[in-house]
Subunit: 762 residues, 2 copies
């Protein structure tokens, strides 16, 4: 190997792609135009629930420049069973006789000119037979309005198999967790508290809207797509087309953000069908407005009931969590399970029952979004924690310290917490905000308050990552991974890991972007899994290569530990600059399947994400306007492999959750979205950031199972932001707001209600 | 693994790419257009040798639509040392102060519209200071006209290092072989014969003309090129640009023929420099006419002197072989060595001296062409064999049988012949033409004759191939190889080899085309090496994967020899359709470096190519017109892995050599090519094929070192065609023609000369 370059682990190296991105040369799917490519524009349903009586495409098809107008009947000719979905095969490629949400794709116009396609949309006549809709998740649990006639779980989710064919229900999944004897424990508890919380529907808002291009040729599909999981798309498209995996190629350049939205099948099945019909490449790129109808985050109603002893020990907890999945399940059932199992919060409670429901409604579909349900669940559980402390007159911090789950103790699922800096992140967040110093409470008009929230999450398991390292004749290195760099800096971190093993400068390593013909399997860039899972795979691949280099040196008769550069070793073997050293590695964590009835497992997560947020707010008691003056988040990311990238991830997650806490909300009226544009739907801008804004990894954290002690960092701070702010506002105004988002209006209403002067609409 | 599918070795499976090619969807570099791409058109020298006094590009640059006009001065700004070449760094990217052949690139016009670029060429004014030229290889040996001032051997050819800086010579390389004591042996010989033969300059004529696209971005080069050796291009471009290999990417789709022409750097350095200058992608695609100036086959003068005993034993042979390399060496020095070492023919001769010279002249450069010099050398040696037999009154077949080299006996280089069906191919060629039956000699006007030639060749060594096999979660298989499928069917044969090991249907295997970011190192698709070298690497990679599958089954606790499909094994390991099995393999044959002075080595070739041709002709004795009525070629290809593909290779080589024997010739006048278009330069058409045309592998041949006993098949029949036809014509007309091509005119002249009535010009 070349001369030692020193360790790069824990160094804030600049991004590998920094120059490309700054000079505008980075590749995105939006840039790509293929010869003879057509553009597709989508006609969307105008009603939230109804049967399609007729679609008249004749006028649109007759418009000059229109190549074709496509409906489900055309699609069925090329894909006979045109239903897809990661958990349930419930979603048709285009509406199939019925529409289930306002905004659902009904038809597509294909044209070489996008503007002509758009113009033609207005010429399509669709007649609907409108049906009553159901929009609220709690109502949907018992409504006679059924969104789907029966459940069709995907074979790839064997734990959903028991739901197959279940009829006459909007409940796509009922997840149960049972630990101890909750009934008995509630009976013995000194106090019982029950509160209900609500989360609104929000959108992922990637700055790069969804875009996919399909190129179908002679029984072989190539997809260029803004997807976070090329391997899944490959496998699901193989299934839809009845092809082996090696006939489907999925290529992904950079992504302009994903946040869980660009997972599973989005536009890919549609463009594929269109390319098969048109026998030309087809591109669909959504507008920012259309993204509201693609995928969103679950609205969710959480009811928590806790049994508490006089000394503050929580002895029992029951959670009812109802996830509004919208019209199609997408990955909602997994959110229901995964967020379900931590919805009792990060506390050591002997008796826990959790019921978590994935429910269909006539809203745009909901899927994974940064935190995978944990932010919604933690909004509830951490506000609930403060409300109990307030009611019992306990110190909120001491109450948490008393009950907090410690490493080695089993969480509600039975899986012990391990290598999690849960308590430490809380203590640091408290310390950084100066919790022990008395707060200047302000004036009667401008009240100040302070809040804390602690949270954790488990990671989807078991999932697999595979990596390949290929060193050329001159010793230069390519790294092949399916991890999608969507802004989180994975290319850089993976190059740091490979470089660490191989003693190479990470910036000299070329990271090959996902292309399923080229990069090996990776389950997906999701759920804070990449640094841990792919990081371990990359490390293994690099170790494999290193071993092969040592073997080569030995075969050449060189003494052990030789310092000869690889280029020279290869030259000796191959008599010229030639050959390769190819290392491969794969990683799957250990796990134990949870019991179907009790949800109990001794090994339910590869690692624990943990963190805490403290917040300080100023509330105008006359208007309800509030300012978040300080927001401190501490996150356990294990070893921060690249501290700069980690900080960017942590602050990104906080900012995103800030929007989900205070400004973002998809507003519906009779199932119609009324604010589906960024002029009406407000995401945080720079001026919306807290005056003091801290996002830091917990120093000294280390997960021995992670690569160099690292674990994921993309979601942790998103978990605790809402409750910390909610608790701070409650601290200021003396009453808890239970529904997100927290707006000046909702604060004003809460103040008025607390005063005993509720407003109309309350 | 899946159920046994039976062996596919030795089956004439249809090509994997058959459908793509027939439906016109196969990808070629010519199809590719990149955004903002410019086209380059080349201005070529009008003089064969001269100094450039001035180039005035102003009028061309002023033409509307012209992006830039580029000369060597511009190129030097981006590539300071703009000289390349596989053996010598003698070739400038554009003429550098001097031109060395008529047709040499002097300037390039860049424009978005190819026609504008072409129009602008006419506006460039170049003033030359013409110099005397040297065009004949024998003259050039001693001429005062020097094509180059000094020799600059490439570091990658360490055996040329002793030539470095050698001045005042056109001899780029003088290869020597010394075996036994030729001087003494000639002294003792009963008879000594000496004849001189000449080969003409011909072109490769790929139906897909040369085309390259460079896309230079931020210190990273991507080349799309019609090249036969992407790995070489990558390494050589890395050297030119001072970049590591992983900053240079070379992608190759299908090739429409290569034949040795598309090796090493051709247009790649030029388009790269242009893309660096323009900061846009640049494409250059040659016209068919321009190909005559890109690369050609060596004209060559061979003088053979043999010492023969009364009983017909050849006891001594001396060969002087002079290769006309044209203005730039390209791979000529290797041709000089490789064809040099077999130029004494396939006979068992104790005393051999060979001098083989690579010589610069002011002609278009010459490189490798199907057979790598062996066809030129064998034209000489096998005509010489017949001429000796005729002179001594020996039976031509018996004379050969007596002297033929047998397996186990050292060839002139000292390397023993092994696993070569040399004699068997001769016997079969004789049998198939019915040699023992008396030939009807025809009439005085229409004379019939019959000819035989036997030949062999060694293979460039040592060279390396690396392969990767990647099996996906559903068990489907991708194969990653740098072998370029240029019509020879390598994709299919490599899939057969991988399928054989892995028990998969070869048509279900996806072969990933060369892309140096993706496919591992391969020395090049050249010199009949792919089936043997890459075949061995593919086999090793597949065996590696197979071993990993067995290990996986064992790790899962399954009994040895389990029949469980891979998809099920992976599902058990990864809990879903996930993961990969990745096998890697590399191959380099054993070898022993030849002694620099004597050329002696005990292991000078990985395998021996061997074959024989018999021909029957009818000659019109009045006009010299002749018809090849029968042409039978038998070739030792070891095991024909895909007999149909092998036959196509054998007949392709024969047809090509038929052109080089009878019709093709680049005709020069004062260094100017006078027939540089396919209307004047005649390649064989269907009507030119012999009436009886047989090309077959020798049954039962087997090379234990090859994959399943196979060896290369692309060149063998090209070796013996010319001499078999030449000998047949001599048999008919009673006199040997010594210069190729054999045309009606040359036959007529020979007849007249034999009659004692030579024509003017003889």
């Amino acid at each position: 190997m070349t001369a030692a370059i020193g360790s790069n682990i824990g160094k804030s190296l600049p991004r590998l792609e920094a120059r490309e991105k700054v000079t505008g040369r980075a590749e995105y799917t939006h840039h790509l135009r293929l010869p003879a490519m057509l553009h597709g524009k989508i006609l969307r349903s105008t009603v939230p629930h109804g049967r399609i009586k007729s679609i008249d495409t004749s006028a649109a098809a007759a418009l000059e420049g229109v190549h074709a107008v496509v409906t489900i009947d055309d699609i069925r000719k090329v894909i006979p069973n045109p239903y897809y979905g990661p958990a349930f095969h419930d979603q048709p490629i285009l509406a199939d006789g019925k529409v289930r949400f306002a905004g659902e794709p009904v038809a597509v116009v294909l044209a070489a000119d996008k503007r002509i396609a758009e113009e033609a949309l207005g010429l399509i006549e669709v007649e609907y037979d409108e049906m009553p809709g159901v929009f609220d998740e709690v109502e949907a649990m018992t409504s006679n309005v059924l969104v789907h006639d029966e459940l069709k779980p995907a074979a790839t989710f064997p734990d959903l198999a028991h739901l197959k064919g279940r009829k006459a229900t909007n409940i796509a999944l009922d997840y149960k967790l049972r630990r101890g004897d909750t009934g008995a424990a509630f009976g013995k508890a000194d106090h019982v508290f029950e509160h209900t919380f609500r989360n609104q529907q929000v959108m992922h808002t990637p700055m790069e809207p969804f875009v996919s291009i399909a190129d179908w040729k002679d029984g072989h599909l190539t997809l260029h797509s803004s997807t976070q999981n090329p391997s899944f798309v490959r496998i699901e498209m193989s299934r839809l087309l009845g092809l082996p995996e090696n006939k489907v190629r999925v290529k992904v350049p950079f992504l302009g953000g994903g946040f869980g939205g660009k997972l599973y099948i989005k536009l890919e099945a549609l463009v594929t069908a269109l390319s098969m019909i048109a026998r030309r490449p087809v591109k669909i790129s959504l507008t920012m407005e259309e993204q509201f109808f693609m995928i969103t985050r679950h609205p969710c109603t959480v009811t928590i009931k806790s049994g508490v002893m006089k000394d503050g020990t929580i002895v029992a907890r029951h959670c009812e969590v109802v996830w509004n999945g919208g019209a199609y399940a997408d990955i909602g059932p997994r959110v229901t399970q995964k967020a379900g199992f931590t919805s009792a919060g990060p506390y050591d409670i002997d008796n826990v029952t959790i019921n978590s429901y994935a429910v269909y409604t006539n809203r745009p579909p909901c899927g994974a979004l940064r935190g995978f349900g944990a932010p919604q669940a933690t909004w509830a559980s951490e506000c609930h924690t403060d409300m109990i402390a307030n009611a019992l007159g306990l110190d909120k911090v001491e109450f948490r310290r008393k009950n907090l789950l410690r490493n080695g103790r089993p969480q509600a699922s039975g899986t012990p917490l391990r290598d999690a800096a849960l308590e430490r992140s809380m203590e640091l967040a408290l310390e950084r905000i100066g919790w022990t110093k008395p707060l200047d409470r302000g004036t009667a008009k401008l009240r100040r308050g302070r809040g804390l929230a602690v949270g954790f999450k488990g990671i989807t398991t078991p999932t697999t990552s595979v990596a390949i390292v290929n060193l050329s004749g001159d010793g230069s290195c390519n790294l092949y991974i399916g991890t999608v760099d969507m802004g989180q800096g994975s290319d850089t971190v993976m190059a740091q890991i490979a470089g660490e093993v191989l003693n190479l400068d990470p910036h000299a390593i070329r990271v090959i972007h996902p292309d399923t013909d080229v990069t090996p399997y990776d389950m997906g860039t999701l759920g804070s899994r990449s640094t841990f899972h792919m990081g371990n795979a990359v490390r293994a691949a690099a170790e494999d290569a290193k071993g092969k280099i040592a073997t080569l040196a030995k075969d050449l008769g060189l003494p052990e530990g030789t310092n000869m550069p690889l280029s020279e070793l290869l030259k000796r073997k191959f008599a010229m600059q030639a050959g390769n050293i190819i290392g491969t590695g794969s990683y799957i964590p250990s796990y134990e399947k949870p019991d179907q009835e009790t949800g109990q497992t001794r090994d339910g997560t590869p690692f624990w994400g943990a963190g805490a947020t403290t917040a300080e707010v100023e509330v105008d008691m006359e208007t309800g306007h509030f300012t978040i003056t300080r927001l401190i988040s501490m996150a356990d990311v294990g070893t921060p492999l690249n501290p700069l990238a980690v900080k960017q991830q942590l602050s990104g997650a906080t900012i995103m959750q800030l929007g989900h806490t205070t400004t973002e909300q998809m507003v519906f009226k009779d199932g119609q979205l009324t604010n589906g544009s960024l002029s009406d739907y407000k995401i945080p801008g720079l001026l919306d950031l807290p005056l003091e804004f801290v996002n830091e990894p917990v120093p000294g954290a280390f997960d021995p199972k992670g690569p160099y002690g690292a674990k994921g960092s993309g979601e942790i701070t998103s978990i605790t932001v809402s409750a910390a702010i909610g608790n701070a506002i409650a601290d200021a105004i003396g009453v808890h707001i239970t529904d997100l988002p927290i707006t000046p209006e909702s604060v004003f209403r809460a103040i008025q209600k607390a005063k005993g002067t509720p407003l109309s609409g309350d």
